[in-house]
């Protein structure tokens, strides 16, 4: 028997198959193995192949958790309570209190700083892209309170990534509604544009935008036809590709008043947590999204006995790999599995700090951003309209960043900044 001293040269399709199973870090290293490997690993075909495998196998899935810091935990090690999540020190900006992760898609994360500067970031390749400011940020209504809701998703129709910003203008934090705007950012064009509004905007407490089927969802409470004092909740879907709206019929709730409704995603499907005043919590999942036979199915039912205190918020995160358990974030305090077969909670994992935290799942991918040529050149100095002044733009835009939420602007400053943003938007660059 002759032992081969050297392995046979593998055909290209076999090399492709093997490489598509590797974690991103190893693939990034392997780019310099040879010219063929570099061309293969950076090709759009391979990036899609690797992504599809990531989606199917759920290998290399991470949990990103954040309070005032950003943490990463390998999904496979959730039950290893001795293994703490690692602090992420390679985010595109210094993560601190007020920084938010708005969503993930295909291995990309949409996040914002505490000052409201937005990034799209691939934590596996550690590449990121800063989004241009949108003119809506500096509004025609400078004295008004703004409430922002965001969605981030891959738009399969246009092979693009979209960020949706929904802004509700109110007189004050708990004040009267004035108006709302909806804007969409496209990664391909690197531009924001205003989308057509729908009459029902998010106005219900505890609602959360949620992505499923390429659409962003929110809950809108409207007065019923019968009486002004009674209200019903509508589930609104905004398709990020077609920018069309529809109302999704809600499930047949149990009798009894609802304390709050919470939208989330689970396994790519829209999920709805119903928190009753009786302290029961039911979780429904929407199947056959967008189809003729679209239907809600109840997958979790938690009686009040599970909780020592009243009124908990239950958010769905992900299915286990075997599909028999659902990971929940309860009260932003702990991660728990719900065993679907035994219909019971198990394996509570408390957060390692005492802070409340939120969590998203993110898979590994090589997905990258195409940076338009114009963005590669920094801009210094421009004319400001009627004031006939030259303003120098700080490259990092920190001087122009505004605090979201409790926004109160003086009129003149707002007008100047609005012009500055519009110009910078055209010739923005990546940091």
């Amino acid at each position: 028997m002759i032992l081969s001293m050297m392995s046979p040269l593998l055909p290209d399709e076999i090399v492709t198959d093997i490489l598509s199973r590797l974690p991103v870090k190893c693939l990034l290293r392997s780019r310099c193995v040879s010219k063929f490997w570099l061309a293969l690993i950076t090709s759009p075909y391979f990036i899609k192949l690797h992504l599809n495998r990531s989606v199917q196998t759920k290998d290399n899935l991470s949990l990103f958790m954040w309070d005032e810091y950003l943490y990463r935990l390998n999904f496979d090690f959730i039950d290893d309570h001795d293994l703490p999540p690692t602090i992420v020190d390679y985010s595109p900006f210094r993560f601190k209190d007020g920084s938010i992760l708005h969503g993930t898609s295909n291995g990309l994360v949409c996040m914002s700083t505490s000052m409201g500067i937005f990034y799209i970031w691939n934590p596996s390749t550690r590449k990121s892209k800063q989004l241009p400011f949108s003119p809506l940020r500096m509004t025609e209504h400078p004295d008004i309170f703004q409430e922002h809701t965001y969605g981030f998703s891959y738009d399969i129709i246009n092979d693009d990534y979209k960020v949706v910003r929904l802004v509700v203008f109110k007189t004050d934090v708990n004040g009267d509604f004035i108006n709302f705007e909806i804007e969409v950012y496209s990664l391909k064009t690197n531009l924001w544009h205003k989308a057509e509004k729908f009459r029902h905007y998010p106005n219900s407490c505890g609602t959360r935008d949620s992505i499923a089927g390429g659409a962003m969802h929110w809950i809108s409470t409207v007065p019923t036809v019968e009486s002004e004092s009674e209200s019903k909740s509508l589930i609104v879907a905004f398709d990020m590709g077609t920018e069309k709206y529809r109302i999704i019929p809600h499930p047949k709730y149990n009798p009894g008043p609802l304390f709050c409704l919470c939208l989330n995603t689970l396994g790519g499907c829209l999920s709805l947590s119903c928190h009753y005043c009786s302290m029961n919590v039911d979780v429904y999942v929407l199947k056959e999204y967008g189809g003729k036979n679209e239907y809600w199915t109840k997958i979790i039912s938690l009686p009040p006995a599970y909780f020592s205190d009243p009124f908990h918020i239950v958010k769905t995160i992900a299915y286990s790999k075997c599909g028999k358990k659902v990971l929940l974030n309860i009260d932003f305090e702990c991660l728990v599995w719900y065993n679907l077969e035994q219909q019971a909670l198990e394996g509570i994992r408390e957060h390692d700090t005492d802070q409340l935290f939120e969590v998203v799942t993110c898979l590994e991918s090589l997905v990258s951003f195409n940076v338009p040529e114009a963005e590669k050149f920094p801009i210094k100095g421009f004319q400001v309209g009627s004031r006939d002044e030259e303003m120098e733009v700080d490259c990092k835009m920190t001087a122009l960043a505004m605090n979201l939420g409790n926004v109160r602007y003086g009129n003149l400053r707002a007008q100047v900044m609005a012009l500055a943003f519009r110009i910078c938007e055209i010739c923005f660059f990546t940091i």
Partner: protein, 195 residues
């Protein structure tokens, strides 16, 4: 068992294997040949050595049995050496004409295979040196045996995960066609990945 149809396979080095049709059909390539009418004569596999073909037959036999949930004491792929005067042009191995029956490692418990039992068997099966892994993946690709292709591809990927660039080149027998400057430029684009 003797009523089952047998298929005769010949490796690149002239070794002859007789296998049950169901086992042979784990290979889509062989399955198509049988459907095209070549199942009654010796099917030559010039791209597969006897050593590797033996292992492949071991794999297919195990998986067919697990699927059919058959209880057997032993499975015998028979190695029959025929008088090679027929038509072969290549030099062939002439062995002792005595019929040898080869016993495969049998784990009786595995016949009632839960998914995890067969996974364990697969893991042991693919726990071989890199060179054999490569031969298996090439052969299973040629023979179009998806389960074995997946198993060997995953095993190679797992083996590669923590290797350095130089080690990967050695394993895959790849020539570095970058200049040192080009390679340095690529490394610097993701320097953190090399730590």
């Amino acid at each position: 068992m003797s009523s089952k149809k047998m298929i005769t396979l010949k490796s690149s080095d002239g070794r002859i294997f007789e296998v049950e049709e169901a086992v042979a059909q784990e290979s889509q390539t062989i399955k198509h040949m049988i459907e095209d009418g070549y199942g009654n004569s010796v099917i030559p596999l010039p791209n597969v050595t006897g050593r590797i073909l033996y292992k492949i037959i071991e794999f297919c036999t195990k998986h067919v049995a697990v699927e059919e949930d058959i209880k057997q004491k032993s499975v015998e792929p028979t190695v029959v050496v025929e008088d090679v005067k027929q038509k072969s042009v290549e030099p062939t191995v002439v062995e002792d004409v005595k019929q040898k029956s080869v016993e495969l490692p049998v784990d009786d418990d595995a016949w009632d295979a839960e998914p995890s039992d067969i996974d364990e068997w697969d893991a042991q099966f693919i726990d071989v040196d890199e060179s054999t892994m490569f031969e298996l993946i090439v052969a299973s690709n040629y023979l179009n045996i998806k389960r074995l292709m997946d198993l060997s591809a995953q095993a190679i990927a797992d083996m590669m995960k923590d290797k350095t660039v130089e080690e990967i080149r050695k394993i895959f027998n790849i020539q570095n066609d970058f200049t040192p400057e080009e390679e340095m430029k690529i490394r610097n684009e993701n320097s953190w990945a090399y730590e």
